[in-house]
C-alpha cells in the first residue's frame, strides 16, 4: 500500500516542490510547515477552535486531548523504551479515583455507612494523582522490569485488570456504583463548573497537553531518552555500553504512569462520575492502537492517532449511527447489535493491518522506521552521538540479524522517501 500504488507519489512530489520553491521572508513554505512551526500552527488553531465550534464538538475535543495525553504517556513506555504495557488503564484508574475521593469527600465503611473525609481542591489533587500513579508505576515496575518484555506485557495486563477489581471490591469506593468527582474550583472569573460552557476546561486540558508534549520532547532528546531508545533497539548492546537496564526501564515505566495519572485526574474532573466498569482492557488497547496507528515513538503521530480514533469513537460513530438509523435495514441490524462491537472489531483490524502493512504508522518516527528497516540501512542522521556509540558497541551482536530484517522492511519503503 505504498504511495506509488495509490498513484499519489507524483502529485505529492510536485506539491512539495512547489512548497519548497515558494519563499516568504527568506524561508520556503515547506520550512514553515515542518518541525516545531507546524506544532505552533496547530496550537494557534487549537486556541481559536472553541470560538468556532459548538459545545458538543468542544466536549469531543476535550476527550481527544485527554486521550492524546494518555497516548503520549504510553508512548514513553511502548514507543521509547520498547516495553509493552497492556495495563495502562490502571494508572488512569488511580488518577481518576484520586480526584473522585479527594473532591467528593465521602467514602463508605465496611458496613456501608457513609464516612466523611476532608476534601481537597482539584489543583492539589492533580499533582497528587500524578505522584500516586508514579509510585504505583515504580511498585509494579521494580519487580517485573527484570523480566523479558513479553512477560511484562502479561503482568501489566493483569495489573490493569486487578486495579479496577480492587476499587470495586474494597468497601470504601461504593463498588459498582462508582463515585462522583467535582470539577475544578473557579480561578478568578474562570468557572469550570458550568455544564453549558466546556471552553474553560478545554483550555485547561490544552495547557496540560502542551506541557506534556514539551516534557516528552525534552525527555526524548535527553540522555535518558537516548538510553531508552538504545534499550529498545538492542537491550544487550545497551547494557554492554553501560546503560543500567532496570533503572532506565523503571524511569520510563513510572514517567508513563505519571502521565496516565494526570490523564485520569483530568478525566474524573471532566466526566464527574466514574465507576469501575468504565475502566477495562479495551481502554488500554485503544490507547495502544492510537500509538500503533499514528506511529510508534512519534509524538505528532501519536497525537494524530489519538485524534483520529477519538473522533471516530465520540463524534463520528454517534452521529453516523444516528443518521443511519433512518434506514430500516440498518436500524434492524443496530437493534440486535451493539455498535460498540463493530467499533472494537474495526480497532482489531486496524491493529493487524497497520502492523503488517505499515508498522511505522501514519507519521513515522525517523529513528524507529530505520529500526524497522533493519540496521543494515545506514543511519544518515548521526547527530545523536550517545546512540552512535551504543550502535557501534552493539554492531557485532546485531549484525547477524540485520540481513533478515531488511526483508520485513520491504513494505515500509515509502517512509524514507517522504521524509527526505
Amino acid at each position: 500500500m505504498s504511495l506509488q500504488q495509490l498513484g499519489l507519489a507524483g502529485p505529492l512530489a510536485s506539491a512539495r516542490a512547489w512548497l519548497e520553491n515558494t519563499h516568504i521572508a527568506g524561508r520556503s513554505l515547506w520550512w514553515y510547515l515542518t518541525g516545531w512551526r507546524l506544532g505552533l500552527i496547530f496550537l494557534l488553531v487549537a486556541v481559536v477552535l472553541p470560538s468556532l465550534l459548538d459545545q458538543t464538538l468542544v466536549t469531543s475535543a476535550i476527550s481527544i486531548f485527554i486521550y492524546a495525553l494518555l497516548a503520549l504517556g504510553l508512548n514513553i513506555v511502548v514507543g521509547y523504551a520498547g516495553l509493552l504495557d497492556l495495563g495502562y488503564v490502571a494508572f488512569f484508574v488511580i488518577g481518576s479515583y484520586t480526584v473522585a475521593v479527594g473532591t467528593g469527600g465521602i467514602l463508605q465503611d465496611a458496613h456501608d455507612n457513609p464516612l466523611t473525609i476532608p476534601t481537597y481542591p482539584f489543583w492539589l489533587l492533580l499533582p497528587l494523582a500524578a505522584v500516586l500513579a508514579g509510585v504505583f508505576g515504580v511498585l509494579l515496575g521494580a519487580p517485573t522490569l527484570r523480566l523479558r518484555g513479553d512477560y511484562l506485557a502479561i503482568v501489566t495486563l493483569g495489573f490493569g485488570e486487578i486495579v479496577p477489581i480492587v476499587f470495586q471490591n474494597l468497601p470504601f469506593f461504593f463498588g459498582n456504583i462508582g463515585m462522583s468527582a467535582l470539577p475544578p474550583a473557579d480561578v478568578g472569573p474562570i468557572t469550570f463548573s458550568d455544564p453549558l460552557n466546556a471552553t474553560p476546561f478545554y483550555f485547561l486540558t490544552l495547557i496540560v497537553l502542551v506541557l506534556v508534549i514539551l516534557a516528552v520532547t525534552a525527555l526524548r532528546d535527553s540522555s535518558l531518552g537516548r538510553a531508552w531508545i538504545a534499550i529498545r533497539e538492542d537491550e544487550t548492546a545497551a547494557a554492554a555500553a553501560g546503560v543500567n537496564l532496570v533503572r532506565t526501564k523503571l524511569l520510563a515505566f513510572s514517567m508513563g504512569a505519571v502521565v496516565g495519572g494526570i490523564g485520569g485526574a483530568l478525566n474524573a474532573a471532566f466526566v464527574t462520575t466514574i465507576a469501575p466498569s468504565d475502566f477495562n482492557f479495551g481502554i488500554s488497547i485503544t490507547i495502544l492502537i492510537m500509538i500503533v496507528l499514528g506511529g510508534i515513538g512519534s509524538i505528532p503521530g501519536v497525537i494524530l492517532g489519538a485524534a483520529l480514533l477519538r473522533f471516530f469513537d465520540v463524534y463520528l460513530l454517534g452521529t453516523v449511527s444516528n443518521n443511519l438509523e433512518g434506514i430500516p435495514a440498518v436500524a434492524t441490524f443496530l437493534a440486535g447489535h451493539d455498535i460498540n462491537t463493530a467499533k472494537l472489531l474495526i480497532y482489531g483490524l486496524i491493529l493487524i493491518v497497520m502492523i503488517l502493512l505499515r508498522p511505522q504508522g501514519l507519521i513515522p518516527d525517523r529513528r524507529r522506521s530505520r529500526e524497522l528497516k533493519g540496521i543494515g540501512a545506514a543511519p544518515e542522521d548521526t547527530s545523536a552521538v550517545g546512540l552512535l556509540a551504543l550502535e557501534e558497541a552493539g554492531i557485532s551482536s546485531v549484525g547477524e540479524s540485520a540481513a533478515d530484517e531488511t526483508t520485513y522492511a520491504g513494505t515500509g519503503s515509502d517512509a524514507q522517501g517522504r521524509e527526505g
Binding site: A153, F159, E161, I162, N169, I350, I352, L356, P359
Partner: protein
C-alpha cells in the same frame, strides 16, 4: 463491558454446589479444582507449545478456545439437543462435538499464524504480539456480533449424577473431563517424543536455524505446532461447555489469561509444566473461591490468579519445571 467479576456466574455453580454439601467442603473443592485444572491444562499447552517454538505469547489463543465453545453450541442447537443423552447417541455426539471443536480451533489457530504472525517473524518482538492482540479483538468481536453480548446457556447433554465417596460428589462428567484431558495430554506426549514431526518441533524450539540446516521444514513445523495447540484448545472448549454450561464471547480472554498463568507457573515452553501449572491453578482457584478471607472469594478469585502470576514471575520466572535460559542475542 465489565469483565472479571462476571466470571463468577459460571463459577457460582462450583461454590454453591460445594456449599450445599453437608460433607467435606475442602475435598470437594479439591475435586472441582482438578476438573477445572484439566481444562486449564489443555489450554495452557497451546500457549506453551507456541511459546516454546517461536517465543510468542499467542494472545489470540484464548479466543481460539472460545470459538470452539461458540461453534459447538451452534451445532448442539442445530441438532435440537436439550436433554441428557445416553448410550450410543451420547458417545457419537460427544465424539462429533470434540472433533468439530478441535477442527474449528485448529483451523483458526493455523490461519492466524499464517496471515498475522508469519509475515512478522523477523520483525521486532513487539510486532507479532500486537498482531496477536489484534487477532484476539477480531475473534472476540465477530463472536459477539454473531451470538450477542450476553451468556448463552449450553444444554445439559451429559448424563447427570455420579459417585459419592469420602464426602465428595464426583460427577460422571468430571470423570469424563479428566479422562479426555489426560488422554489428549498422553497423545501429545507420544507425538512429541516418538514421531518425526515431534522431533522436528523439538529441534525447531531449540534452534530454528540449525534445525533448518538439518532439513527441517520450519514453516511446516510451526504450522503443525499451531494446529496441535488449537486442537487441544478446541477439545478444551467442548468439555468446558459441558462443565460450565454457559457460552460467552469473552470467556476466551479470561480463561486464556488464567491458562497463560498456568503455563508460566509450570515453566513456559515445558509441556509437563503446563499440565502441572493447569492443575495447580485450578486447585488454587477452587480453594480461593471457597476459603478467601472475608468470604467474597468469587470476586477475588481472578485477582488471586494474577497475584500468583506476579509472584512467580518475580520469585522464579522460569516456573516450577522450567530451566533458566539466557536471552538469545
Amino acid at each position: 463491558m465489565s469483565l472479571f467479576h462476571l466470571r463468577g456466574e459460571g463459577m457460582l455453580t462450583l461454590a454453591t454446589l460445594a456449599a450445599g454439601q453437608p460433607n467435606n467442603i475442602f475435598l470437594q473443592q479439591i475435586e472441582n479444582g482438578i476438573t477445572l485444572g484439566a481444562v486449564y491444562a489443555l489450554v495452557a499447552l497451546g500457549y506453551t507449545l507456541v511459546y516454546g517454538i517461536i517465543e510468542l505469547i499467542n494472545f489470540a489463543h484464548g479466543d481460539v478456545f472460545m470459538w470452539s465453545t461458540v461453534v459447538t453450541l451452534a451445532v448442539v442447537q442445530a441438532m435440537g439437543l436439550n436433554a441428557p443423552l445416553s448410550g450410543l447417541a451420547l458417545v457419537g455426539i460427544l465424539a462429533l462435538l470434540i472433533v468439530i471443536g478441535m477442527v474449528v480451533s485448529a483451523v483458526l489457530n493455523v490461519s492466524i499464524e499464517r496471515f498475522a504472525y508469519r509475515p512478522l517473524r523477523k520483525a521486532p518482538r513487539l510486532a507479532p504480539l500486537i498482531a496477536a492482540i489484534g487477532a484476539s479483538f477480531i475473534l472476540e468481536n465477530v463472536a459477539e456480533l454473531w451470538r450477542g453480548a450476553g451468556f448463552v446457556s449450553f444444554p445439559t447433554i451429559f448424563p447427570l449424577g455420579g459417585y459419592h465417596l469420602f464426602g465428595v460428589q464426583i460427577n460422571y462428567l468430571d470423570i469424563f473431563i479428566v479422562i479426555i484431558a489426560v488422554a489428549l495430554m498422553y497423545g501429545l506426549n507420544l507425538f512429541i517424543r516418538r514421531t518425526k514431526m515431534g522431533k522436528a518441533m523439538r529441534a525447531t524450539a531449540q534452534d530454528p536455524e540449525a534445525a533448518a540446516l538439518m532439513g527441517v521444514n520450519i514453516n511446516r513445523t510451526i504450522s503443525t505446532t499451531f494446529v496441535i495447540g488449537g486442537a487441544l484448545a478446541g477439545a478444551a472448549g467442548v468439555i468446558y461447555n459441558m462443565y460450565i454450561g454457559e457460552v460467552w464471547f469473552f470467556t476466551g480472554f479470561q480463561l486464556g489469561l488464567i491458562a497463560f498463568t498456568a503455563a508460566v507457573l509450570g515453566g513456559i515452553g515445558n509441556i509437563y509444566g503446563a499440565v502441572l501449572g493447569g492443575f495447580v491453578i485450578g486447585l488454587v482457584q477452587a480453594l480461593a473461591i471457597q476459603f478467601f478471607p472475608g468470604g467474597n472469594g468469587i470476586a477475588w478469585s481472578d485477582a488471586t490468579v494474577f497475584a500468583i502470576l506476579v509472584i512467580i514471575l518475580v520469585v522464579r520466572p522460569s516456573g516450577l519445571l522450567g530451566q533458566q535460559v539466557p536471552d538469545k542475542v
